[in-house]
C-alpha cells in the first residue's frame, strides 16, 4: 500500500515535476495540496490526476501525510512550516527559506527578516552526497538550490583535496533553462524575450552564492558567479575555472572525484577531456562532471551538468524523502 505524501505548489514547474516523479514512485502516492481555486489546463476525460486535499494542517493530519513537499516561495514556506510540522509530518522545502543557516545571512540575500529563526537553525541541508547521515533524523529538510547543487558537487571534493589554488579565485559561469525562473508570467521569461537570446542576470550578486560558500567552505572573495538564461526549458550547465595545484594530470582530478563519490548513485564522472552536455542529464537525477586540465599552465576547467528540475529540485527532494522515510534512496528516480 502506498504512503500518501503532500505537494504544496504543485502547479509550479518544480511542483509539477514532483507530481511526475511521485506518480511513478513504488512506495508513495502524491496528494495535491490546494490553496486556491483551480485554473488548471484541460485534462483528458477520465484522467483526473492525483488526489487533492486542502493545504491546511487539518487536512495534512487527516490525510495522514508522511511528508509534505513545499514547492512554494520562501515567504510562503516560512509561514507554512511550523503549523505543518506540528501535525507530525516531515517537511521538505524546495525554496530558499531554510538554506542559509543564520538570520543575518537570510536577511542579506533575501532582503527580508526571517520569522522562524529556530527552524532556520534546525533545518538540515538536503545534499545527500555530503549530509546523508543527518537526513533520516530531520523533520525539516531544506532542499538545495539548483545552481548550488551543480556547483557544490563539482567544487567541494576539490577544495577538500586541496588541489585548487584559492588565491587565484574560482569562477563559476552558470547557465540555466528558463524553468528555473518559475512559472509566474513575467516579461523576462516571455517567449519572445528569451528565444534567440542569451542573457546574464544577478552578476556577482546571486542569492545562490551563499549556499555555495556555506557548503564548500570558500570565501566570497574567492568565488565569482554569474547566472545566465539559456533559451531552453530545463537544465543547468556550469563551467568552473580555477588554477590547479599539486596534481600532475586531469586523471588526478577524476581520481579525486571517484574516491569522493564511490557508491554514489547520482553522480557520474567522465574520462578527462570528455564532458556532459544538457541532454546527458535531461529528465534524470544525475549530476554529470567532466574535467579539463592543461598541465603546462595549471589551467583547469570542470563542467558540471544537472537537470534543474530534477537533481536541482524535485528529484533531489524525492531523494531526500526516500532517506527521510526509510525507502531505498533511488526509489522512483532511476
Amino acid at each position: 500500500m502506498s504512503t500518501p505524501v503532500g505537494i504544496a505548489g504543485f502547479r509550479g514547474y518544480s511542483g509539477a515535476e514532483l507530481v511526475n516523479i511521485l506518480s511513478r514512485h513504488p512506495h508513495v502516492e502524491p496528494v495535491l495540496l490546494e490553496h486556491r481555486e483551480s485554473d488548471d489546463k484541460a485534462r483528458p476525460l477520465g484522467h483526473p490526476g492525483p488526489r487533492r486535499a486542502a493545504l491546511t494542517p487539518q487536512a495534512v493530519h487527516a490525510e495522514g501525510l508522511a511528508a509534505v513537499f513545499l514547492a512554494t516561495p520562501p515567504e510562503v514556506s516560512i509561514e507554512l512550516a511550523m503549523p505543518l510540522l506540528e501535525t507530525g509530518t516531515k517537511l521538505i522545502d524546495l525554496s530558499g527559506a531554510f538554506r542559509l543557516g543564520t538570520v543575518e545571512n537570510y536577511k542579506r540575500w533575501y532582503k527580508e527578516d526571517h520569522t522562524q529563526p529556530g527552524l532556520l537553525a534546525e533545518a538540515v541541508y538536503g545534499l545527500p552526497e555530503f549530509y546523508r547521515s543527518a537526513i533520516p533524523g530531520a523533520r525539516l529538510i531544506s532542499n538545495p538550490g539548483c545552481y548550488p547543487t551543480a556547483a557544490n558537487l563539482a567544487i567541494k571534493p576539490l577544495i577538500e583535496a586541496g588541489v585548487i589554488n584559492r588565491g587565484a579565485g574560482i569562477v563559476c559561469d552558470a547557465k540555466s533553462g528558463v524553468s528555473g525562473a518559475g512559472r509566474k508570467p513575467s516579461l523576462k521569461t516571455s517567449f519572445c524575450e528569451v528565444t534567440e537570446n542569451f542573457s546574464a542576470y544577478s552578476v556577482l550578486d546571486h542569492r545562490h552564492v551563499p549556499e555555495v560558500l556555506r557548503t564548500s567552505g570558500l570565501e566570497e572573495s574567492e568565488f565569482s558567479f554569474t547566472a545566465q538564461l539559456i533559451p531552453i526549458d530545463r537544465g543547468i550547465l556550469e563551467t568552473i575555472y580555477f588554477r590547479a595545484q599539486g596534481i600532475a594530470s586531469a586523471q588526478d582530478l577524476v581520481d579525486i572525484y571517484q574516491k569522493c563519490y564511490a557508491g554514489e548513485p547520482f553522480v557520474r564522472l567522465y574520462a578527462p577531456k570528455q564532458a556532459p552536455d544538457l541532454l546527458s542529464v535531461a529528465r534524470t537525477n544525475f549530476c554529470d562532471i567532466g574535467v579539463f586540465y592543461d598541465a603546462g599552465t595549471g589551467r583547469a576547467v570542470v563542467i558540471s551538468a544537472i537537470d534543474n528540475l530534477v537533481k536541482g529540485a524535485a528529484g533531489q527532494a524525492v531523494q531526500n524523502m526516500n532517506l527521510a522515510l526509510g525507502y531505498p534512496e533511488t526509489a522512483g528516480l532511476l
Copy 2:
C-alpha cells in the same frame, strides 16, 4: 554607379550575410562567385538575386571587382589568395588562413602547413578599432574570428590600462549561436542535437585563442577560454572574469572603455551593472560591453556581445572593405 565586389562562399552563413549587407550598400554591388553547380533554395519568380560570375581570376578581372570577400574554409582561402591578388583586386578573407602571423602558429592551431607564408606575414588583421590605419593600404585583409572580436574589444583596453591582475588569470566563457559552426550539415549542428541542449567544445584548446593572445598581449597561461553552443541561430556573448587592480569603482572601467572607444561607431558601452544581451546586438555591427565590479573583493566581470555573423564576420568584413576602398566606414552598416 555601384562598384562591383565579389563574394566567394556566398552559400555559407557568413557569405549569405555578406550578400544581405552588400545588397543594401550605397556604393557597391555584390557579385556571387560560383565554384560549383547551384543547389540553391527556390526563389520567387522574377527575383533572381545578385549577378553571378565564375570564381576564377579571369572572371574577377573581367568583372572589374574592386574587392573580393573570401567566405571560404582556410585551405580554400590559401589556395585562392595569390591568384586573385594578382588580378589587382583587394582581398578580405573571413577564414582563419591569415590571422596568426607565423607559420608555426598556424601549424599548431590549424594542424596544416601554411603554403603561403609570404601572404600570412603580409596580411593586415582587420580589427579596425585597433588597426584602422593599416587597412587602407593593405591588399590582403584578414578578417578577425568571431570569438576574438568580442574578446579583444573587451580585454585589450583593460590590459593596456593595466587594471587587470594578470597573475590571477583571465577567464573568457564564450557562448555562440549555431551559425558560427558553418552551414555544412553535421550531427553536431543537427536540430535535435542542439535544441534543448547546451554544450562546451574545444575547452582550453580553441583555435581562436591565439588571435586573442596576439592582439591583447596576454600569455597563454593567463587566459582560459571555453567555447559553448547556445541553441540559437546567431549571436556571441562572452562573460569575462578577472581580478581588477588600481581602480575604485565600476565606473573607472567604463571610463577606460569610453576613452579608448571615443568616436568609434560600432562599440557601445553600458552604465555599470547593466549588460547587453544578444537581442541588443542581433543583426547589427555593434559590439556592446557592460561591466560589473565588486570593490570589496576586486572581482570583476565584463560582458561583451556581438552578432557573430555581423561584427563577428560579414559586417566587420564590410567595415574593412569600406576602409580599404575609401567609403565611409559605416556605409551599409547602420
Copy 3:
C-alpha cells in the same frame, strides 16, 4: 528634412517594429508617444533612441505629426482616434478597432459595443493590393490583421477568378510566431509553455475570420480557420486547401496570381510545387505564395507566408503611411 510621425504603443512588438522601420525611413522621423512612465530596457550610453513626446492631442499638434500609428489595444485606439484626428493628423490603426465595418460585426467578434460607429464606417481598410486608391484620401486607415493579410492575398484572386469550388469549403490552417500574441506577459506566451510545444487556439472562432470574409467575399459557412502557435518569434504561414474548378494545371493558378499582382512590389510568387517557408519572408514586407495542384483529383493547396510583424503589422502600416503621405510606396521597406 524628415517629417515627424508618431507611434503610440511603441513598447509592444508591432510598435517596436515600427520604430525599427521608421528609423531607417528616408522621409520620416519617428516620435515615440509616451502614455506612462518608462520601464524600458537598458540602453547603451550615448544612444538615447528616437525623440519622445506625450501621447496627447496637444503634443501631437505641437510636434506637427503628419501621421500617428496606433499600435494599441482596440479599446485604446477607439478612445484615442477622434481626439487625435481633430488635430489634423492622419491615423493608421494597427488594432482591430476599425476593421469590421459595422457595429454588429464588431460586437459579435470583439464582445464590446463600438463607441465610434462613425469612424468605424469611415475607416479605409489598408490592404493596398486591393484598396490602394482609397488610401491617399483617408484620414483613418485600419491596418489589416496579420492572419487576414496572408489569407486574403492568397484567396481573393482565386475567388474572383472563380476557380475555387466554394461548395466544398476552403480550409485555412494558420500558424503564427508568438509575437503575434503581443508583449503583455501571460502564461500562454511564457517560454516554458511554448518551447517544444505547438497548440491550436480559437478554433473555428477567431476574430480575424470576419476580416477574411469581408475582403474575400466568402461566406462563413465556406471558410474553416484554425490559428496555431509555433514556438518561434515571428512569421505566419497559412496552408490553404480547396477543390479547384475550371483549371488544367498548377500553372493556371500561378497565372491568375501573376495577372492579379502584376507590378505589386510586395507579393512574390513561386513556380508550381515550390513554396516559401518562414525564412523566405522573415524581416521583409513580402507576402510569398506557392501553389500545389493535383489535376487528377482537383485537390489544391496554396501556401502563403508573411512576417506577422512586417507585412502583417508594422511594414504594411508604413506601406499605408507612404501612400497616405505621398511617398513612394516602398520607401523604407526594401
Copy 4:
C-alpha cells in the same frame, strides 16, 4: 528473469527511444545489435549501457532474442527480414517496408521494387486499436508510420460511423517535430535552417498518405494531406477538417470516439472545444483527441496529437511487442 530482445538501428532517434523504453521494461532486456563500428557519444565512466551483439542471424539466434526491432531504413529492413525471421524470432519493423500491402503500392510511393512480396503480404499492420487480434499470431509486425497513427486514430471511427461528408473531402494538416526526419545529418534538418522557421514538404505527395487510405477506407481524391516541420524535437499535431453529417453537436463526435475507444489504454479524449497540445502527449504513448464543431454550418475540426517517437514509433512498437510476446499491453509504457 528478463527476456532479451534486439534493436537494430539503435543510434537513430526511434532506436534510441526503444532503448529508453525497453531499459525500464519489467519483462524484457534490450540488446543493441551493431552493424558498424561505434561512434557513440561519450558515456560516463562505469555506465556502459545495454548489452551489445552483432546484427547477424547467428547472433540473434545465439542470444535467444524473442523479438527484434528494426529501426532501420526500409531497404535495410527488407534485406534483414527473412534471414532474421528464419532464426525464429519475431520482427517488429518500424520502417515503411511492410506497411502498404502490395508491391504496386510500395513501388508507387517508395520508388523501388519490393524484393520480398511474400513478407509484404504477410505482415500485420501493428495499429493495436484496430488490428489487435492479429498481432499475437504474427511473426512480422509492421509498425505504423507516425503521421498515419495520429490520422487513423482520429479519422477511422468517424468514417465508420458515417458522420463525415466524404464528398467535400477531408483535410489533414500535419505538423511534426524534427526527429521525425531521422538522425542522418542534412541541410534540411540543420539547426539554423529549422529554428525560427516553419516549412511544408511533400505537399499532396507524402508516402504516409497510402497508410491512411488503406486503414481508413478513404479514397485518395477525398484526402488532402500536408506535412510540415515544427522547430521542436518531437511531437505530431494534426488538424483535421471536414463537413459533418448526421450529428447534432460536438458531443456526438466525442460519443463516437468514446464508444470506439472504450477500454483502450492509449487513446484519450477531451471535452468538446478542448484540445491537446504537444506537451499533453510528450514522452507518452498516448494519442489525444479533441473536437470542435459548428452546428450551424457543419464545419468540424478534430485535433489529434501524439509523440512521434513514442506512439508514432518506439512506444507503439513496444505495445506491439507486448501483444506479440504475451505481456500486458501497457508494460513499460505508463
